[in-house]
Subunit: 354 residues, 2 copies
């Protein structure tokens, strides 16, 4: 008992670079973690993946999910671990049939009517996602106290695209067709997702998450008014619900590909930090976003394929332009499967030396 109390006290006083930076403190060198840092480019991940069976089973087996979460932190000495999970655990926990077919991406039995929205099982979330929270607890126990643990969820709009389209999409014709022609009906799906996502994020904090990221991968597919209604307002509501319970846990928003509208998103949602994609010009991020929010990003993941001088030079530019204020080094999108792990090691070394 005394041991556990003292270890909690130690943890809370230990300096975590990531949470410092997310709270707006300039840290030099900046903290670094990488989206999709655990995954198929790592041979040690492929080993575990083989033994786990399908992808969702890996997410739902706490010891295995914890192990793959820790792998990149051990290998590269990153400043944060992000729990190994998927944005589609929410529809899965809501009782929608979700599966990951090898090489095809996710396949879902689509939700396309009000009746199908009402049939979603909103009560079983906590139980169904228990293994995710257990995995977080395992990771937090193993993790060095100076490394932060990040929980995450997909934003309602992005999760809704998969739920309605039944998988990935090129033109989002079904989900947008529905949202544009029957906005009040579609709003109900977004509301269900706001509730589920808030609960899931709050439970992740209870299980040990010290920062959160909300992934809105397909935010850039919406025109402004729809973006406000289905991305900005739902995320604002989630942020407010999480803050009510855990006012001090920093939240990163990632509305990928929204261009000029990153600014409005940063101002309106109340997130602590904006994760920016690789297309965002650095000077604009420094002049227009950093006064509003901490910025996280934005090396092109394909630079990790190239490695060598081009990668180092691109990383230097990012740190030189954004490193003067609260800043977290990351990619503009997830690590690509064919990335050589040595390039990741070289990148971490470069950022640490900056």
């Amino acid at each position: 008992m005394s041991l556990s109390t003292s270890s909690i006290a130690t943890e809370s006083t230990v300096t975590k670079k990531l949470t410092q930076a997310l709270n707006g403190k300039r840290t030099s060198p900046p903290p670094i973690w990488l989206m999709r840092q655990a995954g198929r480019y790592l041979p040690e991940y492929m080993e575990i993946r083989k033994s786990a069976g399908d992808f969702l089973s890996l997410c739902y087996t706490p010891e295995l999910a914890a192990e793959v979460t820790l792998q990149p932190v051990r290998r590269f000495g990153l400043d944060a671990a992000i729990i190994f999970s998927d944005i589609l655990v929410i529809p899965d926990a809501l009782g929608q049939n979700v599966r990951f077919a090898e090489g095809e991406g996710p396949l879902l039995e689509p939700v396309r009517t009000s009746e199908q929205i009402e049939r979603l099982d909103r009560g079983g979330l906590e139980d169904r996602l228990g293994p995710v929270y257990q995995a977080l607890e395992c990771v937090r126990k193993e993790l060095s106290p100076d490394v932060a643990l990040i929980g995450f969820a997909g934003a309602p709009w992005t999760v809704a695209t998969y739920m309605v389209e039944g998988g990935g999409s090129r033109d989002f014709s079904l989900v947008k067709g529905w949202a544009f022609s029957a906005p009040d009906e579609f709003q109900r799906l977004i509301d269900v997702l706001v509730e589920a996502t808030s609960a899931h994020l709050i439970s992740q904090i209870a299980a040990g998450a010290e920062a959160l990221q909300i992934f809105d991968t397909w935010a850039g597919a919406l025109p402004e008014q729809a973006f406000i209604r289905w991305c900005v307002l739902p995320v604002k509501e989630i942020v407010s619900r999480v803050r009510e319970k855990h006012p001090r846990v920093p939240i990163i928003g990632f509305p990928r590909g929204v261009g000029v509208a990153y600014k409005m998103y940063g101002r309106e949602t109340g997130v602590n930090a904006l994760s920016i994609d690789s297309s965002v010009p650095l000077a604009w991020a420094a002049s227009d976003l950093q006064p509003i929010c901490v910025v996280q990003g934005n090396l092109d993941p394909a630079m990790l394929l190239a490695g060598g001088k081009p990668m180092i030079s691109a990383a230097k530019d990012i740190v030189a332009t954004l490193g003067e204020r609260g800043f977290v080094f990351n990619l503009g999108h997830g690590i690509i499967r064919t990335t050589p792990p040595d390039h990741v090691a070289a990148l971490v070394e470069e950022v640490r030396a900056s």
Copy 2:
């Protein structure tokens, strides 16, 4: 002879709303045409498509390509016809094996080495693309003199993504991996495409095109420095080569998804107009882009699926915000295959009444 001279004189003095608007003149109501206005959502197109065999044969049969170009103009009374063709006629004319597999998108035998770049057949372009120019001539003869004829090409970066990836891509890992790790080698492919694209656009003007659009569909996939090198500078060079021969033909640039960087692209390339995707906030386009360039856009194509009040209200907003200056009504991306033609008719009626 005198007939042809007088008909040319008539044409050049007839007021074409599209070219007026592209030259910066405010026209009320604004001209309207729609990206991918000819295509699979039209039953009359499907009729012709069946008889033509494969997709490239349709592009290369002048009477059929001309006919499908004219179909939407006849049906909806649009202000412009855009020649029915494809951005991949350039790699095809350079001797790269290109085919369109039903339901799979384009498939190309990939170009991934310097040797493969050198093996491209840069001499045969004019002959190979002869049918495209004949189709333009056919269309110009049939078209009412107040309707403008638009020629187009893919921008070098976007065409290169297909040439290197061998088709569509989600992460552009092969083309970016190459471009980032061996930029001088990759530059050679861009240079070949600048030359071919300039020649193709110039020949389209000679065959009757009165405005041009350069589609850079995947410009948004590049970080700023790469965007400058592989999108902005090549398009600037193309614009300058076309202007040398035809200084008065207006050119529309469409660097899709580049967000904040539309501004720099508009300033640096010298295009007359910027076609903007649906994610660009209207007020920002009015305040930050219209002082630099004419703006074209940007109704979400999925609004044409919804139709009715939501579509009409979105169209009204666009005209109200952008219609006070040089402006062309269009979509933010191409028409979706499942679009009801009646919704297109209603949209044209709304914009005409604005």
